[in-house]
Subunit: 198 residues, 2 copies
């Protein structure tokens, strides 16, 4: 460590943490329809980053909706607050030096813009562009069927809009590529972040 | 890395992250009156842990009240929600493998009990026991004077209770020890956590 002369006179900053972890912090914000493959790709991406020695955390419905955002519903107001809290947590985790991967539908441009504003320069948007037809064909959780039958209100892509990202950093087409190829694409296109010397 | 045979078939778990970071995750929850020295000790503790190669994050009023909890006031309901969100974020950060230090007055046993319930076995309570007389004498921010003059409602220790931790893991007396001694005490008394082999 080469901080002996200075570290004890200052707070531990984000850049000190990044240096210690040998990486550049960032938030990889994955957006796309239900069933598009966000969680699958996010998981595979995290495994790959782990194997590269990177320190990561994955925020998704499993660990956020059950905990931090368990007191939020699906009203417009709660939907906005849901994304805001996720972005604020991602920012804190970036400050801790971590690479954060988020996997939420996040269908509205305004909400994603707000997330970008909160997270700042560490924000990277990945659009998982799987078409509604393909998502509905897969329908892993049976949600599209239920939405078509009117059993789910405001279901993104059916009865509620999905606003396509206007200028994402990466577009991933799961209809043309396998999971590992999708991960390759993300790593290649965001590579200046991951190449930070250790 | 000795996970080559298994890691690609499983998600990246908390224990894998801890192993990668060479540490045991935990949340060091510091409680005490305004001016007790929580933030000063938390900062010094974080610097010491950094020098030991540990990966940490400090949650305090500066980075939480301005961001994640910026939409909360000081009503009973908001106070409970404030501590709940901090605990949920600490838990997520523990899942990421980090050592989390929190520095909030957190005056109510019920709230701290709730934090412990959320965070689980990683929770460690540190009571910064500086007396009200000493905090008021120091009055670094002039808040006690303002509270005595009735300019601040529900000020902990003056017009609102501070419920002393019943069974904290560490008690720190800043009236008898300097900052570095306080840090020594925390490191010694929580040492099984920090000794985890790298």
């Amino acid at each position: 460590m080469n901080h002996n002369l200075t570290w004890h006179n200052m707070d531990i900053t984000k850049s000190l943490r990044e240096e210690q972890m040998g990486q550049k912090a960032c938030t990889i914000w994955m957006s796309g329809l239900s069933g598009a493959g966000k969680s699958t790709i996010a998981n595979a991406l995290e495994k790959r980053l782990y194997a590269m020695g990177k320190k990561t955390i994955l925020l998704d419905g499993d660990n956020v909706r059950m905990g931090l955002n368990s007191n939020l519903g699906f009203s417009d107001k709660d939907r906005i607050e849901n994304i805001r809290r996720i972005a604020e947590v991602a920012k804190l985790m970036n400050d801790a030096g971590l690479i954060v991967i988020t996997a939420f539908i996040s269908p509205y441009r305004q909400d994603r813009r707000n997330a970008k504003r909160i997270i700042g320069e560490d924000f990277r948007e990945v659009y998982v562009s799987t078409s509604i037809e393909e998502c509905e064909r897969r329908d892993v959780k049976g949600l599209y069927k239920a939405a078509r039958e009117g059993k789910i209100d405001s279901f993104t892509g059916i009865s509620s809009p999905y606003e396509i990202p206007e200028n994402p950093d990466v577009i991933i087409d799961t209809e043309k590529m396998g999971v590992e190829e999708c991960v390759d694409q993300i790593l290649i296109q965001l590579h200046p972040i991951f190449e930070k010397s250790e």
